[in-house]
């Protein structure tokens, strides 16, 4: 088993807590922020064939 895997397994709190915190903060920001003003991107490249 590689040293990196051993490190991840033995010190899982050091990466799992930041991972969950990042997701939590991101979700909270997205949920609490007001709805953005809608946009109407009419002039973007239209895919055609």
């Amino acid at each position: 088993m590689s040293a990196a895997w051993t490190l991840l397994r033995e010190h899982w709190r050091w990466w799992l807590v930041p991972l969950l915190l990042t997701l939590l903060i991101g979700a909270a920001l997205a949920a609490l922020a007001p709805d953005p003003e809608p946009t109407m991107p009419l002039h973007y490249d239209l895919p055609t064939r």
């Binding site: 490190l7 991840l8 397994r9 033995e10 010190h11 050091w14 990466w15 799992l16 807590v17 930041p18 991972l19 969950l20 990042t22 997701l23 991101g26 920001l29 997205a30 922020a33 953005p36 003003e37 809608p38 946009t39 109407m40 991107p41 009419l42 002039h43 973007y44 490249d45 239209l46 895919p47 055609t48 064939r49």
Partner: protein
């Protein structure tokens, strides 16, 4: 009972400071990567609907950037679109009506998201037919076009169809999408775009963008000046009455671009174009009630009816339609 979670294995070696920092960076990185992947899952939203339509009903064009595929029959999100052999939305033009109107514009005038009969050009057509039996309104608007394309389409279509009146549905993002400078979706993080839009840092709002397009001396305003000047000249040369309908951007009300509309109206009149400003008719409306979908600010059937009413009244008042 053996506790296996929540603790390091008994023989775990203490990690160095650098290793711990590396683990934190790894954790945050995995979270961001996962969120990025989720953000990239295609959603059945506005973009997807436009793309579905474009793939079936839009063809590239060297002169106009793109046009509707002649003869296309498409249904997107429950709305049917039929395209004539001339690339206009609706039936084939009739032989030679006594009073023909050609309407130019973008997706708003084309009637994105509403049935053909509910578009403002179709409703103006019915009001016109009630006065002049032998009349016809041809909806030559195409989503994604801007003022430069309106002029090019005028040159292409008007000599052949010989209308008595040309109506242009002007929308506040029309200065963009011209001179070959169409906005493209920039590559990059979808997660960043999502969060930035949500938190207000995602670049300009639609209103700010549209205001910037009309700033005196800006490339957008120069495009409008050039287009209105050319259109005015063409209408004089061909002895065809031409009117600009200033259609509002339905992002919010009270309408934030009233000054821009006033300047557009003055510019149009200076070049001999008749002008109808539709925005004042929406003064006391709840803007979301006029949207075609919760994620799409294109006008719905009710908004199209308001537009058609305002435009037709103005055409009558300016004596641009038969009595």
């Amino acid at each position: 009972m053996t506790r296996t979670a929540d603790v390091r294995s008994p023989d775990a070696r203490p990690a160095s400071r650098a290793a711990k920092l590396g683990l934190v960076v790894f954790g945050v990185g995995v979270a961001l990567l996962g969120a990025e992947l989720v953000a990239r899952i295609p959603r059945d939203g506005y973009d997807a609907r436009v793309r579905a339509f474009a793939e079936l009903a839009v063809v590239p064009d060297t002169r106009l950037s793109h046009r509707l595929r002649p003869g296309a029959r498409v249904e997107v999100a429950g709305v049917a679109y039929r395209v004539s052999s001339l690339g206009t939305r609706g039936p084939e033009p009739s032989a030679s009506p006594r009073f023909r109107v050609v309407v130019l514009g973008d997706s708003v005038t084309m009637g994105w998201g509403v049935a053909e009969s509910q578009t403002w050009p179709a409703q103006v057509g019915r009001a016109l037919a009630a006065r002049s039996h032998d009349s016809e309104v041809i909806n030559a608007a195409v989503l994604g076009w801007g003022v430069a394309q309106y002029v090019a389409r005028f040159d292409e279509l008007v000599p052949a169809l010989a209308p008595k009146l040309v109506l242009v549905g002007y929308f506040p993002n029309d200065p963009a999408g011209t001179d070959g400078a169409r906005t493209t979706r920039t590559p990059g993080s979808e997660l960043y775009r999502l969060l930035a839009a949500r938190l207000g840092g995602g670049g300009m709002s639609a209103t700010a963008h549209e205001r910037a397009l009309h700033a005196a001396g800006s490339p957008g305003w120069r495009t409008v000046q050039r287009a209105f000047r050319t259109l005015g000249a063409r209408c004089r040369e061909t002895h065809i009455a031409c009117a600009i309908a200033l259609l509002p951007s339905l992002t919010r009300l009270p309408y934030p671009l009233a000054d821009e509309h006033r300047r557009l109206a003055a510019l149009g009149r200076a070049h001999g174009l008749h002008v109808v400003d539709v925005a004042p008719t929406l003064a006391r409306r709840e803007v979301r009630m006029l949207w075609v979908a919760a994620d799409d600010t294109h006008p719905n059937a009710a908004a199209h009816a308001l537009y058609a009413d305002a435009i037709f009244r103005s055409l009558v008042a300016q004596e641009l339609v038969p009595r």
